[in-house]
């Protein structure tokens, strides 16, 4: 029996390593694996049979459970673990997914190259070395693989362009600067299956003729960096990296560049600038990186998830990949399901599934039994999709038609308590801060959009503000230099498109329909319901509530800071929020 602890960043944050230590203390020799994607159940401990069969998946494991686990291991009586075993319902989270990019995540030990090779690792690389680069590119073309970082540009096309560029020196770059709030699939891949990334990158490097590969990963991902460093060292030692790989003519070295975490550095030309040691600001395109990129040499950039599909495609054939999905979108896509969802985590599904399938069948619907209002897809560059459009397919074109984008796959679920103006403001606050400051439309445009949204949420919106927002959004989309600015208006435009009534309520009636905008809310106490228990008065951080015991209390609206604590603690439902 093998006891395996899920130690991705999320698992560790939930206490997985403490569980690991307790297990050790209890006399077990646990192994680790990466992230299986079930964030809502971390820490997770898997029990495998010696034959490699998953016998039990234990969830929300606490260090105190170690003794029981040790007992179960010793006695073989796994029924001891029934109380912490995953429910069938929760297990459905995984069973409805199709895992390609995440195929090894939460399954193998990411720190051990042998675990990867035992699971079919580096076979694709061997296969590729027997093919011509053109044949590899053709296979990728057949697969229909498109860039998973957001833009969805055909991967083969970029590879081919870089292949066609004539130069002695070419670079292959992996964009691991995952910056969308709420997206963490790339981190999971690096932490949980680093060799899959290395193999995918090597195949790319071989195809375009690059002899140097760089992974640009944000410094906020320390565990990913460590695991990738280890993996690179192991791969070099095993002859998968370096000079004359596996005895072939193909040589390629690989290194990691830790980025300082500017969102714009996820934009490929800004990433190149940063890689060159300059300020992270986008360059004009053309020339495209495939023509003149890093160090002015032909360069190809793909993101982590894109590379994570490559070895599978080579092993299984482009056709097998293309068999999944829709006419325009092939294969699978990983989503980071977050927000007001019951089962949040990483979800990999074939293209062509509906949003509803993901939210309800996999995600289990809305937490707390509330109404689902919308999802924000594609992070700050994306848009919202209202619940009445949840039949929309996961497909680049279909999603774009709604005003959202596939993006990198951040899927934030919102229930009826979320103010959509506030949501747009949240994302604009992000993009305005992350704007590099180079082009006018983005630097000042996002700032002004944010200011207008801010005044609307504070009850100072002006007549005509919706039109002004729309006009400014369109101009920013048209005028901004890079993808950051060109897509920054999307959250505003799509919320105006689907939730215009909420904007109007804020502007015309100075009212936030969800009550989320603190400036537009007043708290008062219903004298008929209040029993004078004094609890609210005690909780109030600014002493805005007065009243004697057993008599109705009163809120001084001048003092009230609208923190909502009174409403939260009241047991008689006497606090009225308007």
């Amino acid at each position: 029996m093998r006891i395996i602890v899920g130690e991705g960043s999320c698992g560790i944050a939930a206490g997985a390593h403490k569980v690991y230590e307790s297990l050790e203390a209890a006399g077990i020799t646990p192994q680790i694996t990466g992230c299986v994607g079930m964030c809502f159940l971390e820490p997770i401990v898997d029990i495998y049979s010696d034959g490699g069969e998953l016998m039990r998946r234990l969830v929300k494991v606490k260090p105190d459970d170690a003794a029981t686990i040790a007992e179960a291991e010793k006695t073989g009586d796994l029924s001891l673990l029934d109380s912490i075993t995953i429910s069938d319902e929760d297990a459905a989270f995984l069973s409805k997914q199709t895992r390609i990019a995440l195929r090894n995540c939460g399954v193998i030990d990411p720190t051990d190259i042998n675990a990867y090779t035992a699971n079919g690792g580096y076979i694709a690389l061997r296969k590729v070395l027997g093919m011509t680069p053109e044949e590899v590119i053709e296979e990728i073309k057949i697969s229909g693989l498109a860039g998973r970082g957001g833009a969805g540009f055909p991967t083969w096309f970029k590879w081919n362009a870089a292949r066609q560029s004539v130069s002695d020196t070419k670079y292959l770059i992996c964009n691991a600067d995952e910056g969308d709030p709420g997206a963490f699939m790339d981190r999971a891949v690096i932490e949980s299956d680093p060799h899959n990334l290395i193999e995918g990158m090597l195949i790319g490097a071989y195809s375009i003729g690059a002899s140097e590969a760089v992974v640009y990963v944000r410094a906020e991902y320390p565990l990913a960096i460590v695991r990738l460093q280890e993996a690179i060292a192991q791969a070099e030692k095993a002859g998968y990296l370096g000079k004359n790989i596996l005895g072939s003519d193909f040589s390629c070295k690989m290194r990691i560049k830790a980025g300082a975490g500017a969102f714009v550095c996820g934009e490929e030309t800004a990433l190149i600038e940063s890689l060159e040691g300059k300020r992270g600001m986008p360059r004009l395109k053309p020339p495209f990186p495939a023509q003149r990129g890093y160090n002015d040499e032909p360069s190809n950039i793909n993101n982590v998830e894109t590379f994570a599909n490559v070895a599978w495609i080579i092993n299984n054939g482009g056709k097998a990949f293309a068999a999944m999905g829709t006419e325009n979108s092939k294969g699978t896509k990983v989503f980071a399901l977050t927000g007001k969802i019951r089962r949040g985590g990483l979800v990999e599904v074939p293209m062509g599934m509906t949003i509803k399938d993901i939210i309800y069948d996999i995600g289990g619907g809305i937490r707390g039994g509330r109404e689902c209002k919308a999802v924000q897809l594609g992070g700050p560059s994306g848009g919202c999709i209202p619940s009445d459009k949840f039949d929309t397919l996961i497909d680049y074109k279909e999603l774009a038609a709604t005003g959202a984008i596939m993006g990198s796959g951040g899927m934030v679920v919102m229930d009826d308590t979320t103010c959509m103006v506030g949501m747009a403001k949240f994302f604009l606050d992000f993009t305005a801060k992350e704007s590099c400051g180079k082009c006018v439309h983005c630097r000042i445009g996002t700032k002004r959009l944010l200011e207008i949204l801010d005044r609307i949420t504070k009850g100072n919106g002006l007549q005509g503000d919706i039109d002004l927002l729309t006009e400014l959004c369109e101009a920013v989309k048209d005028g901004a230099l890079c993808g950051l600015g060109q897509t920054a208006p999307n959250p505003v435009l799509s919320t105006i498109r689907y939730f215009r009534d909420e904007y109007e309520a804020h502007i015309n009636e100075k009212r936030c329909p969800t009550g989320e905008c603190a400036d537009l809310v007043t708290y008062s106490i219903d004298a008929d319901k209040c029993r004078g228990c004094t609890l609210c008065a005690k909780k109030c951080p600014v002493n805005a509530i007065s009243g004697s015991v057993k008599t109705p209390h009163v809120i001084d609206s001048e003092k009230c800071i609208k923190c909502g604590q009174c409403a939260a603690v009241c047991r008689f439902d006497a606090v009225i929020k308007r």
Binding site: E471, G479, L481
Partner: protein, 677 residues
Amino acid sequence: MEKIKITINSTECIADKGKTILEIAKENGIEIPTLCHHENVKLYGACGICLVEGKNMPKLMRACSTVAADGMELYTDSERVKKVRAVALELLMSDHEGDCRGPCTLNCPAGTDCQGYVKQIAMGNDREAVKIIKDKLPLPASIGRVCPHPCETACRRTKVEEPISIAFLKYFAADRVLADNPYVPEAAPASGKSVAVVGGGPAGLTAAYYLALKGHGVTVYDAMPKMGGMLRYGIPEYRLPKKVLDAEIAEIESVGVKLVNNVKIGKDITLDELRKQNGAVLVAIGAWKNTGLRCKGEDLEGVMGGIDFLRRVALGEKVDIGKNVAVVGGGNTAMDACRTAVRLGAENVYVIYRRTRDEMPAEKIEISEAMEEGVNFKFLTNPAEILGENGKVNAVKLQIMELGESDASGRRSPVPVEGKFETIALDSVICAIGQKVNVAGFEELELNPWGIISSDERYFTTSLEGVFAVGDATNKGASIAIDAIGEANKAANVIDGYLYGLDTPYTAPVLSKREPDETFFEQFEKAERIKMPVRPAEERKHDFKEINLGFEECAARKEAARCLECGCHDYADCKLIRYADRYRIDTCKLAGEKHECFTERKLEIIERDQGKCILCNLCVRICREDAKQGIIGLVGRGFGTVIRPEFNKPETISVCKDCLKCVTACPTGALKLLNLK
């Protein structure tokens, strides 16, 4: 070299393959605006101003960086392009605080570049100064003497001690150039179009001058024997000598304006005839009728209107006013009348004014000079009745007044003190309490309820096609000369467009404004305003010779050097403001948080103004790529991005090679070369 063919705005362009859209447009004389592009540095693409649209191309393209492809059909000014460009400019202007023009210029109804000519005078370039002035007003020596100078009212030097003596500096420079070698610009080639101007006052002459410079045949018709209007017949000789006015009118004549006097419209020629003979008619007939006193006895012999009185004196008529004269009113006409009365030999000259000295609308200097000349001011009095004998004035009964509540204008209203009167013996009463328009001959034109010609504020059009009107005869009625001159200059542009069938209304230029805080003025050393030397009262009160003696040259240069130079030094060359004006930007539309305004002056010879910086990054790029220095860069992100290190850091100063490439490249006035003594 392989060639490609593209079209830009339907113009076919053949160009070398590999060239950018911007380069090809430039070769073909098509201007595509850009703020951040510079030939000496690498492509950058930040400003978003050079965007162009291509047929069947979903995205707009940056002309600076997009290499043209054969067959492209491009539009540099499509609606979509204009919109995006305008928003970029609105965004830039929302974070640009520039003081484009000084308060003097902004407050001058004619928009004269006061700062510009004062600077030229300070540097000793009087001719340059006159050139600048004549861009807006063709009578600088005359106006410099008589203008109540709203420019000086607005002058920020007042916050240090006193305003610059702008008007008299103009008079100084104009006199010198007039005496030396008059400046008359060359007129454009004849257009073959003609304009009739009715009224040879400041408005009519101004319009005639600018229309003639544009090549049009202009004839000025005037009812009086000589040109000049109120400048000649309303302003006494001692303030504006006729020979100065004559010289300036001669200059106007010399650009080709035809001057015809003693012509009354409706009598000698009709408006209709003028319309038939000319492409356009401009009515600038002024306001030549006195407002009556509306009290008993105003019909008595010896009661006359202020402007009638001044006109008769100017015409050389013998006006019998007797020894005791009262002038009613508190404005500049009243001052001209009472001081003229003194010069005609009256022994007792009274000014009857119903409020106090503080409320008088006349120029302060006029009041004090009148007092020096012995005029007796009867403040807080109002004529209740003019008394007479045998149909002739012999006294006035004055109602004693006191100041009551403030009225809408903020002035305290005079109210009669019940039953208190004073009677003074008089030979004549001159009423200078207002002017009306005499519309005889122009009955066809639509009038406003006050009997004044209605004229459009942007087009200066009247109710008759092809007939324009400006000055005292229009809208709000009588005002100061510079007001009429301003309108006339604007109307000349509108009429010029009209003659060619173009729609060219006057539009106020788009500007950025800044008001420095009080601490700003602390840096300046106090330097007193230089007073205009005048002849002593005892001497001057007996004749009509000019009372001002004029500035000595060194005094004028010193006075001009007091100018704080509030307006942006780069206004004429600022690309941002030029584009903002071209696209008629609403500078407040996208108002929001701005960068703090401050200047960094310590770098020996360059001053950097954060308020004006539009972050085109040209200074940084020029310094790095062209000057090979790289001593400045960008710091911060998003809206908070700024250029650093500060120009005043010692380490920056020590490495800067003073090549000034950054100053030259800056598209706005954010970088300024400091004057080195």
